[in-house]
Subunit: 470 residues, 2 copies
């Protein structure tokens, strides 16, 4: 056994790498793969960050297999990088120091649905859409919906959220417990299924959002919710982004239990109108949804309409039937594809930030001004009920100057959000891309994170080079 100095965990020599791969091949046979195509697929991230390939991929089928892989890698100080669906946005699955990508996609079973307790236990590779298909006949659903059809393990690891978070919370609120393989190969079950507990440190919340740097989540229990009796969807257009943000702020402050409230700015609407052949005005638009009893939804929609009109909202449309709601939300659903189709050859870079809702209008406004100043094309879509919004600059990646201006915009946005009492990422995670803001956002807290990382992963084998900067 090689002795690895704490904090080392950097790229192994060829001989040691070959030794680890040899042992893993003996153990996993064809489920250990080293072909370049598969390694490239496993470093795929939907960012502009360059791919960094792992040395090999192990397709794990059980928690015990993940633990075995981690133990074998641990003996050599070989990095391990968990892989769900490869939809992370900040380089989460890259392998900057090489290592073994542990593919959890075939660990996709729903292990138990406890309908009476409103929770269910799944393997980490189960996707959110697969879970909701499985739940079809139960009257229950799992609400967290990041853009991609991500794996639930990956969503927990990145503390994901999405359009429903304003009502149902994020993965922080919806993960009841996780089973995780730690750096020493031990298997930890972080909590029981009781709805609350005061029994010791909150290991569940420690692993949620740790992006594979403290442990590899292999199973998890998540909360389920009753499918609402009535759903109403709405669209409303505004004279400017400030009016749309102020409407959002008023709705949240009035404690209307809105299920979704999404902002598309004027540029994003223009893109969507062209892409999906829609006829909206190219003006900032809110897409909303209300869930509840018939009387409750009626109250909420009337209240929303009054607030929106107070702020100059016009062209308000409502829909209740499923197909009508889908038609109404078509612009929102097509937002991503409309962006990528807008400027052929350009990369749509995704970044996000989140501020206290009182600062939302100001933060969006300053960001738009900065985009204009920098000469970028960058639409804004926001889960604005949480103060969270995305900016998607369209960048020709071979144009160094444009890449530089994009990076300036992203950095200023992160710092603007932090200065306003917000965070450099509301839901995308830190990965590699946002490590540079960790010190600014967390101050002395970063030393605490480092101490925890070092205590739980002394040889720095767990997804090294992510989240916590050296």
């Amino acid at each position: 056994m090689n002795v690895i100095e704490p904090g080392a965990g950097r790229r192994l020599g060829d001989e040691e790498t070959a030794a680890v791969i040899g042992i893993l091949r003996q153990r996993f046979g064809e489920r250990l793969q080293t072909g370049e195509a598969i390694r490239r697929e496993h470093s795929h991230t939907t960012t502009y960050l360059a791919a960094q390939l792992p040395d090999a991929v192990v397709v794990a089928q059980t928690t015990e297999e993940v633990a075995e892989t981690v133990r074998i890698c641990g003996e050599y100080g070989m990095p391990v990088i968990p892989f769900g669906t490869g939809t992370s946005l900040e380089g989460g699955v890259n392998a900057p120091f090489g290592g073994i990508s542990i593919d959890l996609r075939t660990m996709d079973r729903v292990l138990a649905v406890h309908a009476e307790d409103l929770d269910c236990t799944v393997q980490a590779g189960c996707t959110r859409e697969a879970l909701n298909s499985h739940l079809r006949d139960t009257g229950l659903f799992f609400p967290i919906d990041p853009g991609a059809n991500a794996s639930l393990g990956g969503m927990a690891a990145t503390r994901a959220s999405g359009t429903n978070a304003v009502r149902y919370g994020t993965m922080r609120d919806n993960v009841v417990n996780v089973t995780a393989v730690m750096a020493d190969g031990s298997v930890v079950h972080t909590a029981q299924r009781a709805k609350k507990s005061s029994a010791g440190y909150d290991l569940t919340r420690l692993l949620v959002g740790s992006e594979g740097t403290l442990g590899i989540i292999t199973e998890l229990t998540v909360r389920l919710w009753g499918i609402p009796e009535r759903i109403a969807a709405g669209v409303c257009q505004f004279p400017d982004v400030d009016a749309a943000c102020r409407t959002t702020i008023s709705v949240i402050q009035a404690a209307i239990p809105i299920a979704r409230i999404e902002l598309l700015d004027a540029l994003q609407m223009e893109m969507v109108n062209r892409y999906a052949k829609l006829a909206y005005a190219n003006r900032p638009t809110l897409f909303v949804e209300f869930h509840g009893s018939p009387a409750g939804v009626e109250e909420q929609t009337a209240f929303f309409q009054a607030i929106a009109e107070d702020h100059g909202g016009t062209a308000i449309e409502w829909a209740e039937k499923s197909e009508d709601r889908n038609r109404l939300w078509k612009a929102r659903h097509n937002a991503y594809h409309a962006v990528t189709a807008w400027r052929p050859g350009a990369k749509a870079v995704a970044t996000d930030a989140c501020v206290p809702i009182s600062r939302l209008a100001e933060c969006v406004g300053e960001t738009q001004a900065d985009i204009e100043r920098l000469g970028l094309t960058a639409p804004i879509v926001g889960h604005v009920g949480d103060g969270n919004f995305h900016v998607s600059p369209l960048v020709m990646m071979e144009d160094e100057d444009e890449v530089g201006r994009m990076e300036t915009m992203v950095a200023r946005l992160a710092r603007r959000a932090i200065a306003m009492g917000g965070t450099c990422t509301g839901e995308h995670g830190i990965g590699q891309g946002k490590m540079k803001y960790m010190a600014e956002e967390h101050g002395n807290g970063l030393a605490v994170m480092r101490a925890i990382k070092k205590a739980l992963d002394p040889a720095d084998i767990m997804n090294p080079g992510k989240v916590v900067p050296d």
Copy 2:
């Protein structure tokens, strides 16, 4: 500077103790106290656990003073024990190895109310009632209500909850960030005020529930909620505890957003009838409350009534005006005093457990049978919507046999809850009293907790002898 071996942190010699006290006296003058009465007060716990006095008490007025005290104590390996209102239930403020009690009661200011963001920042010594008084004219309130008028810092440290948690969550869900003094005297601010973040490890949730063993919370930001437009309170009696539990389970499964649902068992009702001169039947009773819009509350109460009647609920009463609601809830409000008055000379021991709601009826039933088998007098009151309930055995503390039977009951309850997928404490915390169940509840997770404790407090000076057993 004395070098303290990691993991030592046990009682200092007289000379070193005198040295630390001398330094602190020089720094804090009369705010350093060593009189026995004040030291006894600061080891006060509302349990049957014996008091263990600190060596001295420092009344801190600022975060920096707490940090200074911790730094001075750290140099000598002297334990520090944070003190809020002294209402912990598992020996949380005891000083088993001596040490300095850091009294935060005069740090009681509301520092900022951000009404527009539905949050506010307070010093740790601010009590929940003081905060709600302060918020009187804002239309907002802070819902978490453990039995005592505890300090918000203490409530965060023990991950407290109470009757409103079924709707509003616990301190886990309602703390936005904390400022904490760590073992090395550094001051950490765990998060910004944005509603969500994916930026690194969740230090807020790590400190919430850590009971002063990782850091001393000196300030915190908590979520606020709009005072509901309409409140309806109700009472309903049941033929047996099983029917009351099954009603609760149905209400939760139907996703009715009930604000409170409290069970008093037949013995507790008998105690309350006698104490408060009420005329209820001595039968298991649910006290409920609904918050919402007028239409919403009407829907919810009708739905509850139908479910309750399906399970044999009778004598259902409703009230909406504040004074009528208070009258209706009088039995619940008097539950604690009714218990202590029942058997003069006896100590009312408080213990709690929490199980998945599907197991609630079974767990309460088995516990009642065990109480009877052991010949104890022990009423049950539960925040049953969360699967959480309290048992309060009345024990003559000089009767060793009775104390032994009480301890047997408490231990069996903890193990029963864990075996049912629940926890040995839903809201009281671990303190000293429940450390013996940590291994059983957490398995390998306990080693992770130990590693975190050791990393963040290598000399074991932060509230030693609590939460994480050696």
